[in-house]
């Protein structure tokens, strides 16, 4: 076995040009229309599609509201979009989503990769978090 990062990949052919598909991912109105079809719907979608910009999508379902937040890491219209993704479903962890688009005639082939990988920033925060917990513990023990 190889020690790869846990990830999942979904490939889908879509009946639209890459530009249209790309815009559907970064336009708040479009996101509201498709991000939560079915049993749930999007209560709100706010996006700031710039590198470093944040987004926040609240999905309302039978089990209440689920908030999804993240930050854009790479915006290369129309072929590549990378953003972090965190919600209750990820246990509040920051994960990484990469959307790649390739033109296929009149269609687009979309490849979505979701990695259970905290990004560098989240990783540093984790490490800082652990360090401070360990330091507090050490101080508490020393005071005894």
């Amino acid at each position: 076995m190889t020690a790869s990062v846990p990830s999942l990949r979904v490939v889908r052919r879509l009946a639209a040009r890459p530009e249209e598909v790309f815009d559907a991912w970064i336009d708040a109105e479009s996101l509201r229309a498709w991000m939560c079809a079915g049993a749930t719907h999007v209560a709100s979608a706010e996006v700031d599609p710039r590198v470093g910009g944040k987004f926040r999508i609240v999905m309302r379902g039978a089990q209440g509201d689920v908030e999804h937040t993240g930050r854009y890491r790479e915006i290369r219209r129309p072929e590549r979009l990378v953003f972090t993704w965190a919600s209750n479903h990820t246990g509040g962890r920051e994960t990484l989503v990469t959307v790649e688009l390739r033109s296929r005639g009149a269609d687009t082939e979309l490849t979505l990769t979701h990695e259970g990988l905290p990004d560098d920033e989240a990783c540093r925060r984790h490490e800082a978090g652990w360090t401070s917990i360990v330091e507090k513990l050490a101080a508490a023990l020393a005071a005894k």
Binding site: A3, P6, E20, A33, W34, M35
Partner: protein, 119 residues
């Protein structure tokens, strides 16, 4: 549940670092000595040991001490668990992409009604 989540966090932090992923990939091929790993990846013994401690803390390594020699091997179970966690996200994205497909088709139909002959 909380304990499980904490373990998963440690696994994810451990494998977030590219050097540690390379070390894990090497160990996936078989056990190795710390000195071998340091030589193979052109790192100081100190730097390798630091990375190995993080991997060990995440339960990804087994260490066998024979005299002065430390032999390390991969413990893959936590990696499997991390893979299972992310795999649970698949139905979510499958459903979202179905909805995106429907959204784009509706848009395309609407546009076709308006004008024809677009390449």
């Amino acid at each position: 549940m909380v304990e499980h989540s904490r373990e998963l966090n440690r696994t994810l932090v451990a494998i977030a670092d590219p050097t540690r992923r390379v070390l894990l990939s090497r160990l996936a091929l078989g056990a190795a000595r710390v000195t071998d790993l340091a030589a193979r990846f052109d790192m100081s013994l100190n730097a390798v040991s630091k990375h190995l401690r993080v991997l060990e803390g995440a339960g990804l390594l087994r260490r066998e001490v024979r005299g002065r020699e430390h032999r390390l091997s991969l413990e893959a179970r936590p990696l499997r668990e991390a893979s299972e966690w992310i795999a649970a996200y698949r139905p979510f994205w499958e459903e979202r992409l179905d909805a995106l497909d429907a959204f784009l088709r509706k848009k395309r139909r609407r546009r076709r009604c308006g004008r024809r002959g677009r390449p």
